[in-house]
């Protein structure tokens, strides 16, 4: 059974079992939207270079059962970090593996299924309000058939002492797995949170994960957000993250894509207030026939906001990288400063890069620049190092590390920096 057919039967099954409340209606509607839109094809401008055929024609099971094989979930690099852990295995919440060390009981860290019942007011106020479903097929699909996910609420003025790590394990040891996590993070006025979303695969079978995260950031709040994708050469990943910010908020976002057959990230920021400050950085190291597709969009809807975007890629083998960055400056967003850069290093003759840095500007008093570069490692610094007796391999590693440094120095969790350094060491 292909995924497209599987979706039909799964939803029918869900519809017969579900309680017929407003939440069901919302999901029913989303399912109809998805039916209407269908999976995106390469005829869709946003999906021109990324073909979903392997996913839609593939056979996947929507299962939350981990495989019978011994998969050491503790082996994750994040297990050792002093942090709150929310663990999901194949989309279902795993209470035993989760750890809460936050002393402040006013802070809510739980899963979506529980939050819908226990914190209904908060949930209903924010859930599904930021990530568009009407035009984005995969968001509609996620809403219709979501499994579970993280629910976090940081009340006004509070600060989460240690980071929160949302660990998603996709375990396809026994069969092809299809998972749809959904996260809702609410950061109230003046609150502060450091958040890591991690995606790790276990098992040799193909897997497909379709994530939607909504993050609401109220006035004067600050968010550190890291997304780390370490999957296998058999795993497909589509991701939609929507930040919705009020005035005087600041966000530091870093996306690290280290592995995965096909990874498509949609990262959206909507600045609904003045004086917002957003930094978004990304790095990917891709090899084999893998594809990494980063789509970002920053909506400057109000005046006096700042955004700085840097995405870097190192490509080996026959890998493909796609970058599409859009800065949208709305008519009222005067005094906007927006910067965007995409840099790629090709290490192989067979790798390809498709990049499209876009500006759409409707206000006149703005400063916006974007730039893109694609090339090999510079010969001159290489020669400099070689002439000082450093072997070619070493020299190359040094230069690539320097290239990655601009991103890694934005990461404030030391373990994450180490992970990145090891990954570069291993791959290059």
């Amino acid at each position: 059974m292909t995924l497209t057919e599987r979706i039909q039967t799964d939803f029918k099954l869900y519809a017969t079992q579900a309680e017929k409340d407003s939440f069901f209606e919302q999901r029913q509607q989303a399912f109809e939207t998805f039916e209407k839109l269908g999976f995106p094809t390469t005829h869709n401008e946003e999906w021109k270079y990324t073909n979903m055929k392997a996913i839609t024609a593939g056979a996947f099971e929507n299962t939350c059962i981990p495989s019978t094989k011994n998969n050491n979930y503790q082996a994750s690099v994040f297990s050792g970090i002093k942090a709150n852990h929310l663990v999901f295995v194949n989309g279902s919440f795993n209470k035993d593996l989760s750890v809460f060390i936050e002393p402040d009981s006013a802070i809510i860290i739980t899963n979506i299924a529980a939050a819908r019942k226990q914190h209904a007011d908060l949930f209903n106020k924010h859930f599904g309000k930021y990530a568009h479903t009407e035009t984005v097929a995969l968001n509609a699909l996620n809403l219709a058939l979501l499994s579970d996910g993280a629910f976090v609420y940081i009340p006004a003025g509070k600060k989460l002492q240690d980071p929160l790590v949302i660990l998603n394990f996709i375990d396809s040891g026994d069969l092809n797995v299809w998972v749809q996590p959904r996260n809702l993070i609410i950061v109230d006025k003046g609150a502060d949170i450091t958040l890591v979303e991690s995606y790790e695969s276990r098992g040799e079978h193909p897997s497909y994960i379709n994530v939607v995260s909504e993050i609401f950031v109220d006035e004067n709040a600050h968010v550190e957000h890291y997304k780390v994708q370490q999957q296998t050469n058999e795993s497909y990943h589509t991701n939609y993250t929507q930040f919705f910010q009020q005035s005087n908020t600041s966000i530091n976002q870093v996306t690290l894509t280290l592995d995965g057959k096909m990874v498509r990230n949609n990262l959206h920021f909507y600045m609904n207030g003045t004086n917002c400050n957003d930094l978004l950085y990304g790095l990917h190291i891709s090899e084999k026939q893998n594809l990494v597709d980063n789509h970002t969009r920053v909506d400057h809807a109000q005046p006096n906001c700042f955004s700085d975007e840097k995405y870097k890629g190192i490509l080996k083998d026959q890998s493909v990288a796609v970058f599409n960055g859009k800065i949208m400056v709305h008519q009222d967003a005067q005094k906007t400063n927006a910067y965007q850069r995409n840099q790629n290093i090709l290490l192989s003759d067979e790798a390809s890069v498709y990049t499209k840095p876009q500006l759409e500007i409707f206000a006149d008093d703005v400063k916006c620049t974007h730039g893109a570069t694609i090339g090999q490692l510079d010969e001159e610094p290489m020669f400099y190092l070689r002439s000082r007796g450093i072997p070619e391999n070493e020299a190359r590693k040094m230069l690539l590390n320097a290239f990655a440094d601009e991103i890694s120095e934005r990461i404030k969790i030391p373990e994450l920096v180490t992970l990145l350094e090891n990954e570069i060491e291993k791959k290059l």
Binding site: E45, Q331, Q334, N344, L346, L347, S348, D349, E350, A351, S352, V353, Y354, T355, K356, P357, Q358, L359, E360, I361, F362, A363, D364, D365, V366, K367, C368, T369, H370, G371, A372, T373, I374, G375, Q376
Partner: protein, 482 residues
């Protein structure tokens, strides 16, 4: 926004189009609408060989299967192709040998446009081919060019006199099946210019074509074909104007350039079709397909364009860099005002080894207009050592205008070196202050700054056009940019 600026932009908006007159001249027209019969009619009218008719019909049949594109960054009302005259020509029976036989009304029109053919002939040494509505009416300097072996004539004439050359190259760069408007043009094109520069010849003068839409409800579909044989050089200019009319008129031209080994073609455009009135009523839809192919090694094609007119400008002059070491260049200034729209840019397709391309695009949007740069740089797998540098800058005058950038960069070879940079800004208050302080008025200062902003592109234009382009810029943005 200061009151002064409001005044300035007000003046910009009120600027009138000065080429808006129409000429009363007897026209011969085919019936309205488009059908196979019209295609046959046009072909018969031009006494074309049979293969040409077949070629047109193939294009027409293919066009019928196509849908109008929708990916562009603007919308326009649906064009009713049955309401357009696809063929309109001044009633002219005899073939012209010299300018004295041209209808004096027509000559007057061209004089009003500032391109007195007679004067041009005597003074400037630029060979001109003038296309009025659908038909080429006069070509100057033909004999002098002939001595060098250069062929410069209308494409209908070329079909009569050099059919084998036309047959070999027409559609070789922009095939009939290329896109919606190219297919339409291939079916119904009425005239245009044809240039052939033989091996090793450096064309002794600038070649120039002037296009004029006059008749109501007509579309202009001209086709230009330029072939530069091995080691030759040619610089070609085109200019365009149209009368003021309330309806939108369609202009769907095709330009094909072919550069052989070590040949160089420089193609410059100063486009000033009627842009519509300040409410956005009327104006020309300028939907043009322009493409050059660097066939041989070390060849070079350079596009320069100054786009100030048209309600909608939608074109991407492109270069296919097939030959090793070939070079493609694109220099563009697009100025939009009132409700004008420009969606323009280029495509650089690198196929040969060590190919280079350079893109410089400057967009200025005022009033409620929108200016889009859309460009593709594609480096094929085998195109090692390719190099591209792209720079696109936008300047915004007025807070209801928009500037957009959509660069596509597709790289398939690791030795490629591709850089893209873009910026958007308004004129800095500190820059104006600097000038004011030194006794330069605000208007003049804006003029200076805009001219400086565009200079890189204007410098690429041949002398005669550079002057005109500078004047045009001044007229389009008078008040705000001096």
């Amino acid at each position: 926004m200061s009151e002064l600026e409001v005044g300035i932009i007000g003046q910009v908006v009120n600027q009138e189009y000065k080429y808006g007159f129409s000429t009363n001249i007897e026209m011969e027209m085919a019936p309205k609408g488009l059908s196979e019969d019209i295609v046959r009619f046009i072909s018969a009218k031009k006494n074309e060989p049979k293969w040409m008719l077949e070629w047109r019909l193939k294009a027409y049949r293919y066009w019928l299967t196509l849908k109008e594109p929708t990916w562009q960054n603007f919308t326009y009302p649906k064009i009713n192709y049955q309401d357009i005259y696809f063929y309109a020509a001044p009633k002219e029976k005899i073939k012209l040998d010299n300018l004295d036989q041209v209808d004096p009304e027509l000559l007057k029109t061209f004089e009003k446009l500032g391109i007195s053919l007679l004067e041009q002939k005597r003074l400037t040494g630029v060979a001109v081919d003038a296309v009025f509505d659908s038909v080429s009416i006069a070509t100057t300097f033909k004999d002098q060019l002939k001595e060098k072996g250069v062929i410069f004539c209308s494409i209908s004439e070329a079909l009569q006199e050099y059919p084998e050359l036309v047959k070999k190259y027409i559609g070789s760069v922009v095939p009939q099946t290329d896109n919606y408007f190219a297919a339409l043009n291939s079916a119904v094109f009425s005239d245009g210019s044809f240039v052939y520069i033989p091996k090793g010849v450096r064309c002794p003068m600038e070649l120039s074509t002037y296009f004029r839409i006059n008749a109501e409800n007509t579309g202009q579909f001209e086709r230009t074909l330029i072939i530069a044989d091995e080691g030759s050089y040619v610089s070609y200019l085109e200019g365009c104007t149209a009368p003021m009319r309330d309806e939108n008129q369609l202009h769907a031209a095709v330009v094909e350039l072919v550069a052989m080994e070590k040949a160089e073609i420089k193609y410059s455009t100063v486009q000033n079709w009627y842009p519509g009135d300040k409410e956005g009523k009327g104006g020309i839809y300028n939907f043009v397909t322009k493409r050059g192919s660097c066939e041989g090694a070390y060849s070079k094609i350079s596009w320069t364009q100054v786009e100030t007119g048209s309600a909608i400008t939608w074109k991407y002059p492109s270069c296919i860099l097939k030959g090793d070491h070939s070079i493609g260049e694109f220099f563009s200034v697009a100025v939009t005002n009132n409700h004008q729209v420009a969606d323009t840019g280029t495509k650089m397709i690198h196929i040969g080894k060590n190919t280079k391309s350079r893109i410089v695009s400057k967009g200025i949007s005022a009033g409620k207009s929108h200016n889009t740069y859309r460009g593709l740089v594609k480096i094929n797998k085998k195109a090692s050592g390719a190099r591209n540098h792209t720079q696109c800058d936008s300047m915004l005058l007025g807070d209801r205008s928009g500037a957009h950038t959509f660069p596509y960069i597709e790289i398939g070879n690791k030795t490629a070196q591709v850089e893209h940079e873009a910026s958007t800004s308004k004129i800095g208050e500190d820059q104006i202050f600097y000038c004011n302080q030194r006794g330069i008025g605000t208007e003049e200062a804006i003029g200076l700054i805009v001219n400086g902003f565009c200079r890189e592109v204007l410098n690429q234009l041949p002398m005669e056009f550079a002057v005109e382009a500078q004047k045009l810029l001044a007229v389009s943005l008078e008040g705000s940019v001096g």
